[in-house]
Each structure stands twice: as structure tokens, then as C-alpha cells.
Symmetry: none
DNA sequence: TTGCGATTCGCCTTTTATTCGCTAGAATGT
DNA sequence: ACATTCTAGCGAATAAAAGGCGAATCGCAA
């Protein structure tokens, strides 16, 4: 069920509009939201998405688009079998294993959001540009944890967190970059990193 | 739920009126509340909303409208908000964004399994011991893709895949390790890597 | 029975969805 | 390398639904 970049745009717009307004958008509103000038284009997108089973729509009915939550809960795509370890020797068997892994193993029941990483400040930590970090929203952090921190209220960065007396050291994991030292009062923790997700 | 702008207005008015007064409004009150002059219009709205299952009403009875509780949106842990990019400057806002990321964005509907990585053979690719690679089960691969490959039926490894004439080169992403050369017949592709998941 | 609110009936305007024909680029298969 | 299919886009014409009106009618309850 290949979904194109543009189709995801459309789907995201629909979800956000519906969330924001409480009703679904008209084709014209979709068009202007996506920056296209033709209703036909919108119509084609909607039709395609409907054919892919990602949304429902009543024929010729105004504002009748329903985005289906089926995207995730379709077939348990959120939980996948953990078949073993690689580079160990044996072929990967199609074994029925009880072991599985899923996002919820990482997330638990916590309030989590994702951020796309830009820059190389955590390169030695093997977090690179384009990765998504999964961040739990907290205001505190422990020594050595990777955090999203705000310095002087303006600069959000991804660093390791260390306390040094009344100062905070935010340590990049990149030997070419210098740590940031700041008084504890100037640093706001926005969350700590629970995991990393990368997509090829 | 397939609702129009005006219908939401009506529904909102009904909810707030009922909340405020403890009883439901007459059609005339609804009309003036909505700024319309015809009871017929109101009636049409109410009927439509009833057909959509959003409210209940007794026939020909005064003030007999019951707004049915809206279905709550269960929030799945498998889809999380993508709040923005990090190391960009601004604080991470608690914005309601439509953009989301989830495992299914990576997986699609393909047959996927996970493997825990051991060893450092893909270190320069920022895949390290302890990470989980998400692998689509395929028997073919394209030039340069990261694959799970079986050499001589015994040795499963994680490498980049290159074809060189009748030979296959399996290239580790680690400058300290040498590539594996093998005849195409001796190499079995077990799958290709779609993504990486890391858990701290 | 009588009155008030609910219902129904045409008829109108505005909003919205649908369809058609066309161009162009990307992805795929032979 | 080529043809084919799919995605993405444009503008215009058409059809249908949504929203609205006033007036006539109906039905319950006081």
C-alpha cells in the first residue's frame, strides 16, 4: 500500500483541519491548504486515497470525508516479530516467536513526541541528520541522559545532560563540537530521548 | 464524522443551550440563536443531524432534542505527533500538528520483522550493537541497499549489497572491516532494511 | 378546542463535488 | 532504451447537495 509524499500531505491536512475545525474541509479549502489551484487535483487525490482505503467519503456529499484510523490498526503493523540477532551465524528463520517489538515497548504510556534531527551534534552517538528522536516530555533529567534542552529560551538543542555545581553542561556527542555551559536557571529541559527511529 | 460547517454550528448551539438552560431549545430559539428566519431551515438541520446519528428527537414533541455524546478519539500509542526539527533554534512548541510519524510510515503493509543487531559492522552507517533493524522479507535487493544476507547458507550478516559481474560484494560500513566477495549463487538475500529502531 | 411548537411543501441561492480533456514528470517493466 | 503506467497538476463546465425563505399544516397537551 504505497503512499506517496503528496498523498501523506493531503492526509495530514485532512486530519489537522478536521481536528482544528470539527468538520471536514471542502475541496476548495483543501486546494488552498495544499497550495494547488485545481479542484480536479484535489478530487483525484481524495479518490486515490479512498481507493487505498485510507479514508471514506459519501458520494456528492459536502464535507463528508472521514479519515480512517485504519492506517495504524490495520493489521497489527505496530507490533512486529523479533526473529533474533543478526551477525550471529544462522539463517533468519521464520520461527514463531513470542518475542516482539513495538513502539509501545519504547514509549510505555508516556507523553511522547517526535522530532526530526538536523545537524551532526550527536553523530558519535549514532544519531544523525534525518533521524527521528522519540522524546518524552519532562522537565527534569538525570545525569548523562540525552535531552532536548532550551538555552536562554531560544535555542533548542539535542545534547547530553550533566550537572556541574550550579552550572549545566550540555555535551554534544561530536568530538569537533564544544560543550555548552550555562547556569541552571538559563536551561529548560523540554524532554528526554527515549529512542531513535530511522527510515531509509 | 462527515459533518458540515453549519451543522457543527447547530450542534454547538444545541450543546451549549442545553448545558446553559438544562432543557433543549425550541425551534424558534434555535432559529434566533443561529440567526436564521425560517423554522423550516432549523427543522431541516435537525433532521439531517438526526439522520447522521448525532442526536435523538421525539416526533412532534416540544424541546425533545437530545444531543448524543460524541465518540471519543482513543489515542493510540503507535502514532505520535511530529513537532518539528531540532537544533533549529526555537523552543519546541506544543502545537497541534497533523504531521505524525509511526512505524507504519516505515513499514507500509509489507511483511516485516525485526532483528537485534550485534557487532559493529555497520557502525559508520550509525547502526550499532543493540539497535533493532526493521527488515522487509524479500529475495532481491538493489544496488547499495542494506540487506540481511546469507553466505553459503550459514552466515547471516548485515551489509550493503553490490553486484560486481557474477560476484556479489557485501560491504560492511566500517573502515576496519573488509568486504565479503562471493559468487552470486552462494548468496541468499533474506530481506532488506527499511529502518532502524533504537531504545535507550 | 385551541394554541404553540413541530412538520411539510415548493421554490430559490450558494456552496460543493464531480467530470472531462489536457500536459508533464516519475516510476516500472520489457 | 523504450513503452507503459501512475502521480500530479491545470481550467472549465456541470450537477447535486446544503442552506435558506414563507406559508400552510399537523399534533400533542393544557
Amino acid at each position: 500500500m504505497a503512499i506517496t509524499r503528496r498523498q501523506k500531505d493531503v492526509l495530514d491536512f485532512l486530519t489537522s483541519f478536521t481536528q482544528r475545525c470539527g468538520y471536514s474541509p471542502s475541496y476548495e479549502e483543501i486546494a488552498s491548504g495544499l497550495g494547488v489551484n485545481s479542484l480536479a487535483t484535489v478530487h483525484k487525490h481524495i479518490t486515490n486515497l479512498q481507493n487505498k482505503g485510507l479514508l471514506q467519503r459519501a458520494h456528492n456529499r459536502s464535507r463528508s470525508i472521514d479519515v480512517l484510523p485504519a492506517r495504524s490498526s490495520k493489521k497489527g503493523t505496530d507490533r512486529l516479530p523479533l526473529l533474533g540477532r543478526i551477525a550471529a551465524g544462522r539463517p533468519v528463520e521464520a520461527v514463531e516467536t513470542a518475542e516482539t517489538i513495538s513502539l509501545s515497548d519504547i514509549l510505555g504510556n508516556r507523553e511522547v513526541f517526535a522530532l526530526e534531527v538536523r545537524g551532526d551534534s550527536m553523530r558519535d552517538e549514532h544519531i544523525v541528520s534525518g533521524d527521528y528522536v522519540l522524546v518524552e516530555r519532562t522537565r527534569t533529567a538525570r545525569e548523562g541522559e540525552i535531552v532536548v534542552a532550551l538555552v536562554d529560551g531560544t535555542d533548542a538543542t539535542l545534547k547530553r545532560f550533566y550537572r556541574e555545581g550550579s552550572m549545566i553542561r550540555l555535551q554534544p556527542s561530536n568530538s569537533e563540537m564544544a560543550p555548552i555551559f550555562a547556569p541552571a536557571a538559563a536551561v529548560t529541559i523540554q524532554g528526554k530521548v527515549l529512542g531513535v527511529l530511522r527510515k531509509y
